[in-house]
């Protein structure tokens, strides 16, 4: 089997494994009545904040930003993905297997990517009409693609952070929370990126979501499609860069556990 086919095969099996784990947390019914209602309420809450500010523009800005943010938020659950292997006691077996652990980890958390994608689109398409945010058809059909791009970009960051967390499991929730809070704060979700001092703005441009969200705002705002391309390309570049960083560092970080003895049998 060629290297690429092998990698895709392992990715698919790892993804199935992750979805089966996730199916213990949620069924369709509990996802809809629990998680989905929660994210709807979250987006409605921020849209109402806009209404409180007395500006339709603010309503739509906050609604769109928080709906797309859900894609990034969901994907960042991948940070904790490494923890599950340790809990299952499979981490030493993965490290000692002939395959690269990063392939398994990339595949294992794809449920988070799908979860974020569905949450984001589900919130956007349901809440937008409630607050008179008109989605331009058929251009709006591009929104799922852009949301997927944002989710994938955040997933790459989540995988990179998952590698770091592998060395300090107790920090997994802190790291994930700091990551999504930072994106939420400076990525243009609630406040325009250029509101912040220049260094913070630069940092925001290196984060997932920032460019993809701007592309979605431009799309919904009626900008010509060609003008979206720079932001789409930048979002793609940011995601690729985080993925490359994850691939470069992950195995090395996992191997670091060989030095400090943190890879326990059965634990």
């Amino acid at each position: 089997m060629s290297g690429l086919r092998h990698t895709l095969h392992v990715l698919a099996l790892a993804a199935r494994n992750g979805f089966l784990d996730y199916s213990v947390t949620f069924t369709w019914k509990t996802w809809l009545s629990g998680w989905y209602l929660r994210v709807l309420a979250q987006v409605v809450f921020f849209a109402l904040m806009g209404r409180l500010l007395g500006s339709t523009e603010q309503v739509h800005y906050l609604l769109l930003g928080n709906a797309v943010m859900l894609a990034a938020l969901g994907s960042l659950f991948a940070v904790a993905g490494t923890t599950w292997e340790r809990r299952a006691g499979t981490l030493p077996l993965l490290v000692a297997s002939p395959s690269s652990p990063v392939v398994v980890f990339v595949g294992r958390s794809t449920w988070a990517l799908v979860d974020g994608f569905l949450s984001s689109l589900g919130a956007l398409f349901v809440v937008a009409p409630l607050f008179d945010l008109g989605l331009p058809w058929p251009r709006a059909l591009l929104i799922p693609l852009l949301v997927a791009l944002v989710g994938a970009s955040a997933y790459a960051l989540g995988t990179f952070l998952g590698g770091l967390v592998l060395r300090a499991m107790s920090t997994r929730n802190v790291v994930a929370n700091v990551a999504w809070t930072t994106i939420l704060a400076i990525g243009g979700v609630n406040v325009p990126v250029d509101f912040y001092p220049r260094p913070v703005e630069w940092f925001a441009h290196a984060l997932p979501l920032t460019h993809g969200l701007q592309a979605i705002r431009d799309l919904v705002g009626g900008a010509p499609l060609a003008t979206l391309l720079p932001n789409v390309a930048l979002e793609l570049a940011v995601g690729t860069a985080w993925l490359a960083l994850a691939l470069l560092t992950f195995d090395r970080l996992a191997e670091g556990g060989r030095r400090d003895g943190s890879i326990e049998f059965g634990g």
Partner: protein, 317 residues
């Protein structure tokens, strides 16, 4: 042909991660050679260094110093060559994906061992039959009993057709029958020419399946012998079982130098425990002089050797 496992002066020190922790020397210049096809037992109490050695050999831990090779490949420098050759099986219920079925677990690990899908399916089917899980193959692992999980562990360790298997206390928590079945499986693996390093507390297990055993304590190897000849290592600890020995004779023997105990057995006989080199000959002479002819000497069992060499601390396990 290189030995299956070669360990040369391997030391592993765990430096303290927190101020309150202490520096731990888990292995102290350990050397060991296991020829191809041997089942080698690694015996020792908790904290002796068994798992540390298995972890180093299975490439999940680096030694602080020394060298270790599996099938001639260095476990530090040549992990890519070592990993396809080894299988790891540890005890307990971890190390499996509980939401997957037994079959899915094996297929998953088969893919990780880079086997083509068709080969994975065939090997999975064969292994499930072999470990007696064919009828439960499509049931989720969370519904398996402990013994079934352990058999699946073994199948997982074999999915890559490992030349060398590292079994770290694989029968922990198994009931006696499941343990016996498991040992039978291990015996079959030897017949296929696989090399097995079995880290265990279980003396019966070691005595039953191992060609040789290494006693390890506090990171140091105490002895490496076959289970039977290990008794010779402490040959001074012999015992003499007698029948029909008069009480006065036993009393005089008990007073001899080198005789540590004389106890009556339930069948009316007596057991004389000897703890010094040469004392056995004197005991036998006294018994024969007294006309006692039903006499049998024996070496201690592996468990007795273990206790003698490692001490009562070993019984903590």
């Amino acid at each position: 042909m290189p030995d299956a496992v070669e360990v040369e002066d391997v030391t592993r020190v765990f430096e303290p991660r927190k101020k309150k922790d202490e520096r731990v020397v888990a292995l102290d210049e350990v050397s060991l050679t296991i020829p191809e096809g041997e089942i080698h037992g690694l015996l020792g109490p908790n904290g002796a260094g068994k798992t540390t050695l298995v972890k180093i050999l299975s490439t999940v831990l680096l030694p602080t110093s020394g060298r270790a090779r599996v099938c001639g490949h260095d476990v530090v420098e040549e992990t890519k060559a070592v990993r396809p050759l080894i299988g790891i099986v540890f005890g307990g219920e971890r190390g499996l994906y509980w939401r997957l079925t037994g079959r899915q677990n094996l297929e998953y690990w088969g893919a990780l061992y880079r086997l083509p899908p068709a080969a994975v399916r065939e090997r999975t089917r064969t292994l499930l039959e072999r470990v007696g899980l064919a009828d439960r193959a499509d049931q989720r692992v969370e519904q398996y009993s402990r013994g079934m999980k352990q058999r699946l562990h073994l199948a997982r360790g074999l999915i890559g057709d490992a030349k060398v298997l590292f079994l770290d206390e694989p029968t922990t928590g198994m009931d006696p029958i499941a343990g016996r079945e498991f040992r039978t499986l291990i015996g079959e693996l030897k017949g296929e020419g696989r090399t097995i390093l079995l880290a265990t507390h279980d003396m019966v297990e070691a005595e039953t399946v191992c060609d040789r055993v290494t006693l390890i304590d506090r990171g140091k190897i105490i002895a490496t012998e076959s289970p039977r000849s290990l008794g010779h290592v402490i040959s001074r600890f012999q015992r003499v079982d007698v029948e029909g020995a008069p009480e006065p004779v036993l009393g005089r023997i008990a007073a001899l130098e080198g005789v540590s105990a004389v106890t009556r057995t339930e069948d009316g006989g007596a057991r004389i425990e000897v703890s010094e080199e040469g004392a056995t000959a004197e005991v036998l002479r006294r018994l024969v002089d007294a006309g006692v002819t039903s006499v049998r000497t024996s070496l201690p069992s592996l468990e007795e050797v273990y206790v003698q060499l490692i001490g009562e601390r070993g019984l903590e396990v």
